[in-house]
Structures are given as C-alpha cells and as structure tokens.
C-alpha cells in the first residue's frame, strides 16, 4: 500500500487525468463484496458509464427518470433533502447516490444466511 505521501501524489496525478480517475473509482466500487454492476447516469436517465451489458443498463437507466425521491423529501420538509436511496428487491439491492448532474447506481447481491435447499437422495 503506498504511504500517505505517495497516495497524495497518486491522487494529484489522477486529478490531472480525470477519465483515469473515473475508471479507477468504478473499478474499486465493482470490487466490493457482492456488487453485480455499477452505472452512472445523468439526470435525464441517459447512462454515461456502465459495467453491465446494454439491455441491463437500459433497464436501470430508466430508474433515474422516474425518481420522485427528491421531490418527496424536499416538499415534505424544505430543510430536508434526498441524499441516498436503497431499494431492496427480491433478487438484489439497488443503491442510488444522487447529485445535481449525475446519479450513481450500484446493484448488489447481498447474501442470506440460511440456505433453503437440502441435497436429495439418489434413488
């Protein structure tokens, strides 16, 4: 692991080449436990970067167009604002981190502790 001074230099270098930094960040996120895919989309729902294949990306990109989370939170309390969204579904967990111009969508497949299937006996 590079020492703090070296990582600062590294970070400085990367900030000079922003596309490299983007790629590296996405790789780091992708390597987290259980992550199935990552996507960055703009506020119109057009995907900018994605680690998943095209049909899956297109499906999740539609999520951001219809996101009413910000208006929900903001209108109920004008001092409050929407910072993070987690949607738990049957198959996986979808996390959305918003911003003024972009959305980061991460799909994760968390484990469940119990296994439901027991081996059968061969007759």
């Amino acid at each position: 692991m590079p020492g703090p001074a070296l990582s600062r230099v590294h970070g400085l270098f990367l900030s000079l080449v922003p596309s490299l930094e983007v790629e590296e960040t996405l790789e780091r996120l992708q390597s987290q436990k259980g992550v199935q895919g990552i996507m960055v989309a703009n506020t119109e729902g057009i995907p900018i970067k994605s680690t998943m294949d095209d049909p899956t990306t297109a499906r999740y990109a539609k999520l951001t167009c219809n996101l009413k989370a910000r208006s929900t939170v903001h209108t109920s309390d004008p001092q409050n604002d929407f910072t993070f969204l987690r949607i738990r579904s049957k198959k996986n967990e979808i996390m959305v981190a918003p911003d003024k111009d972009y959305f980061l969508i991460v799909i994760q497949n968390p484990t469940e502790s119990a296994t439901l299937w027991a081996p059968s006996v061969i007759t």
Binding site: L14, S15, P18, S19, E21, V22, T25, L26, R28, L29, Q32, K33, G34, V35, V40, N42, I46, P47, I48, K49, D54, P55, T57, A58, A61, T83, F84, R86, R88, K90, K91, E93, M95, A97, D99, D101, Y102, L104, V106, Q108, P110, T111, E112, S113, A114, T115, L116, W117, P119, S120, V121, I122, T123
Partner: protein
C-alpha cells in the same frame, strides 16, 4: 253447340231452297236461341250463304249434306270488353355527360418492411470527465460504506412481499378438442404455443403405431384470446396426409408453424391463410428422413438472426437443418448423422445388435446459453451432448446432398429405456433434464456423465419433461398414467408438488408445453385427443428470492 248448329243447318237447308231471308226464321223456329245483335247478322249471312250455295250448282237432291260455314256464337255472359285507353309517354331529360381523362406522369414506388427489432443501442452522450470524477469522489465513500453495511446486514432475512393475490389451486381453463380427429381415435402428439402466447396448436397422430400408416391427420390451432372461443372448433385446421408427430411455432412469426410427419417429411404451414396454409415442405427426396420425425426446432441463422431454419430429428439417426427457399421447397443446408462407431467412448454402452449402426434420436433440446450446443435424446437411452460446429464427417452410407457430420461430443450414462424428451434449463448453463420409458427423470450436468439426481415419477413411461420458464427449480413431466406432475425442487425433491390428473381413464399424456408469455398457463395433450390448458397457482409462476442461487447450489452440491 257448334256441331249442333251445323247439324241444324244441314237439315234446314233442304226446305230452305229458294228462300233467302226466310231461312232465318226457319232457323230460329227450329231451335230458338238467343242471338246478340252481331250474332243475328252473322246467322243471316250464314243462312243466305247456305241458301245461295243451295241454289248454285244445279238442283241438289232432297236430302243432301252440305257444309256450311262455321257458326259462331258469341258469348253473352262475357261482355265484350270495352276499353278506354290513353296514351302517355315520358322522356327523361337528356343526361349531360362529360368525358375527362387524367394521367399521372410521375410515379414513385416505395416499400416499407419492418425488421425484427435489433438490440437497442444506447446513445453515448458527451460528458465532462472532470465533473464526473469530482462527483464520484464525493459519493464514493458513502456508497462503499453502504455496500459493506448491506453485506453484513440481516435486516431482510426471510422477508418477502406478496404483490399478487396468491392463487392456490391449479385449474383447468380450457378443454380443447377436434371431434373429427377424436372420432378417428387420434392422439395429440405435440402441442406448441406461438410467439405471442395467445394461440395453442396441437398435432394429431398416433404414437403407438408400429407399422407404416396412411392415416390422415390434422393440425389444429385455437386462439385463446379470441372472444367466443369454441373448444370443439379450432380457429384453424390443416389437413395433413400423414400423421404429424411434432410441432413447433416460429419464434417471431405468430402464424408460422413447422411440423414433422410420420413419413419423414418436414412441413411449414402459415395458419393465417386458411385456403392454402402449406408454406414449405421437404417433399420425399433422398435427403428427407426415412423414419418418423420426432422433433422439430426453429434455429436462428448464424448471420441473419431474424431468419430461421428448421432442425428435424428422426429415428433414422439423422439430424437435419432445413432452409426455406423460393417456390415452397425446404432445402437441406446442413446435416448430421449419428453412428454407433463414432459415439464418444466416455461411457460404457451396451453393444448394439449387429447390423445396426445408426443411433435413432427421439428428442432434442438447445442450450439457452450457447446457441450451438444441443442435447439429443436417443433410443438407446443415453443423452448425447452435441455441437452444431462439429467438423468430423459421419461414417454413414445414407445418401445426402450435403456432407453429414458427426456431432456427438460427450455421452451421458443411459436410462433404462429410450429417452423421449430432453429439456435444457433456461437458468443454468449446465443443467438439463431427460425423461424416458423407464419412468425416471434424470437431472444431468453437462460436465459429468452420471446424472446428478434421478427421480422415479411413474411406473409407466414418461413422455415429456419441460423446465419452467420462470422458476429455476420447477419442471413438469407428462406420464403414461395420465397425469402431469409438477416438481418444485425447492420444496421437495422426492415427490411432486402437484400431480394434475388429465385423463379420467388413465390414458397417457403425451406432450406438454409452458406458455412463455403468460407464464401461468401450461398446455398438455393426451391420448384421447384433448388438449387441456391448465392455469397454475401463483407459487409456480413467481420466482422466489434467490432461486437462481439455489439452482447453482443444487448443481454443485449434488455433484460432489
């Protein structure tokens, strides 16, 4: 009356000699009758005429017959019809006509053709990398923290939500049959759903005939979405000269269906043309199968993925690929032949009887993950893993216009009898099921010859087995005892979750198919010539959480 008058005249003529006008009273004296005004004048004339002739040529004898003119007695009771007439005429005013001609001088021809939808291409927008990088820097820490927390969280363990009304029972939605075919004692040999999921077609034939048969049979289709669906009257019926053994709808054209006959031919019909449904046929050439075709499958062409070819499998050991060319002819493009000598030797098989070198194939299933990989079920009871890309030439003497290749790459350990049906899992690339006459269903993995598990479903034959298209751990099997058994490997791997009794007298169920669009429907055809469409309970149509992972676990745990 006229004759009487003449008679009177002749008798009267003798004394009336010389008497001119006197004849009239004479005549009237003898037989008075009423005469109209015209009549008396006529009688007078006649009388004078008679008298004149009496005086004419000499003196006739005292009694002589003379012929007088005809006496006409006008009718008194029928008055002369006077009529009053007026003449009127009318004439339409003259019609004005004008002739004008026009001619388009410029023409443009344009054709429109929809193409099958290609994969959607997302536009790549321009973006500002620096701002994107800054954004990612801001959110990365939060996201990573949430990811880790989620990984360790037990908050949602065992938690599931019911979005739909759970339906508990399996019900029979429709019982469809074609009375003329049932009257001939034909069985339903195959059912197929079309690409939109609204039409179910069935093929009639007989599965217990050993001899060559010249039985006429039918292909019937019912449109289940149509109002006024009549179960005894299919929306389309095609008469076929030979028994149809298998049926498959086209993957994108809702009305095209391919069928394989007992005579070895492969035909493609268009059900939307009732007057002439036959689109393509192979005819009986050197290339066609010499044995009944037991399964047909549509395959996309390697280069043009929206054109399709038909693959047919028959017990003469050939697996043939047909392409429709113009003028209604199905032409052989590729072919494979299976001979015993070329089977992979990784499994010890029984020695075949002398003289038989072909391996009869009865079922085929293509992998959903690798389009060139397929599994063949054989009469010898052993499934074979094959590839469309195999290059080795087949050692066969069967005549063929294209070189036949040997496709088998791996032999799996056999059933106790011929395999009638194979099905590859749509959720796992290595798992497939095979069902045979020994009443067992074997679950195989492509990686090993021994089955992962073997389930005994019925003491009689099993005719069809299919994986569910929505639930990774569910499959259905059609048995010779007349029931359709649904297995849920998540609940129990020993006995079926639901056993649906299709026939009342225990006659076999020969075929079944899940509907991929309306996933709660399952069609099954039996030996009594009826097709029953079953509606499955919601537990068979909704994927439970983590089923795909359980399937993977199944594949791995049992193998070891």
């Amino acid at each position: 009356m006229l004759r009487e008058a003449q008679g009177q005249r002749s008798r009267c003529s003798a004394p009336a000699r010389g008497a001119g006008r006197g004849a009239v009273p004479m005549a009237t004296r003898v037989r008075p009758w009423r005469l109209g005004p015209a009549g008396s004048a006529g009688a007078e004339k006649l009388a004078t005429g008679g008298a004149a002739s009496a005086e004419g040529p000499g003196r006739p004898g005292p009694l002589q017959d003379e012929t007088l003119g005809v006496a006409s007695v006008p009718s008194r009771w029928r008055d002369a019809q006077g009529f009053r007439g007026e003449t009127k005429s009318c004439q339409t005013a003259s019609v004005a006509t004008a002739d004008a001609a026009s001619q388009a001088r410029k023409r443009a021809d344009a054709e429109v053709q929809t193409e099958a939808p290609g994969p959607g291409v997302l536009p790549a927008p321009r973006h500002d990398s620096a701002r994107l990088a800054a954004f990612l820097r801001r959110v990365e820490a939060t996201v990573v923290r949430e990811l880790n927390r989620n990984w360790r969280s037990h908050a949602f363990d065992g938690f599931s939500v019911n979005w739909t009304e759970p339906q508990c029972t399996v019900t029979c939605l429709h019982t469809l049959g074609y009375p003329p075919a049932q009257g001939q004692g034909l069985h339903v040999t195959s059912v197929s759903w079309n690409t939109t999921g609204s039409v179910v077609a069935c093929a009639y034939g007989r599965l217990d005939d050993g001899d060559w048969s010249t039985l006429k049979s039918f292909v019937c289709a019912w449109n289940l979405d149509r109002r006024g669906l009549s179960p005894r009257q299919p929306s389309a019926v095609v008469e076929v000269p030979s028994a149809v053994m298998c049926l498959a709808f086209h993957p994108t054209q809702p009305s095209h269906v391919a069928g394989g006959l007992y005579s070895g031919e492969v035909l493609v019909w268009d059900l939307s043309r009732p007057e002439d449904p036959l689109l393509w046929c192979t005819g009986l050439t050197d290339d066609t199968h010499t044995d009944p075709v037991y399964q047909v499958v549509w395959l996309p062409e390697p280069r043009h993925s929206h054109h399709f070819r038909v693959l047919s499998v028959a017990t003469d050991g050939k697996v043939l690929l047909w392409q429709g060319v113009g003028a209604g002819q199905l032409q052989l493009t590729e072919g494979f032949a299976l001979v015993v000598q070329q089977l992979p030797r990784n499994t010890k098989l029984k020695k075949p009887p002398r003289g038989e070198t072909e391996v009869g194939t009865t079922a085929v299933a293509f992998s959903s993950f690798d389009p060139s990989l397929f599994v063949l079920g054989t009469e010898g009871g052993f499934p074979l893993k094959c590839s469309l890309a195999a290059e080795e030439a087949a050692l066969t003497r069967m005549p063929s216009s294209v070189p036949l290749r040997a496709p088998a790459q791996f032999t799996f350990s056999p059933h106790g009898g011929p395999v009638y049906s194979v099905s590859c899992s749509p959720f796992h690339r290595n798992l497939f099921l095979s069902a045979g006459t020994d009443g067992h269903v074997h679950l195989y993995s492509m990686l090993q010859a021994q089955p992962l598990t073997s389930l005994r479903l019925s003491p009689k034959y099993l005719f069809a087995v299919r994986w569910s298209p929505v639930r990774p751990l569910v499959f259905a099997a059609a048995s010779g005892e007349g029931d359709v058994q649904l297995f849920d490997l998540q609940k129990s791997s020993q006995k079926p979750t639901v056993s649906i009794k299709q026939t009342q007298d225990g006659s076999p169920v020969y075929c079944l198919e899940f509907n991929r669009q309306q996933t709660q429907l399952l069609a099954a055809g039996d030996a009594q010539g009826t097709v029953k469409v079953w509606q499955l309970s919601s537990e068979f149509t909704e994927q439970g959480p983590r089923e795909t992972e359980d399937l993977e676990q199944l594949a791995e745990e049992v193998a070891t």
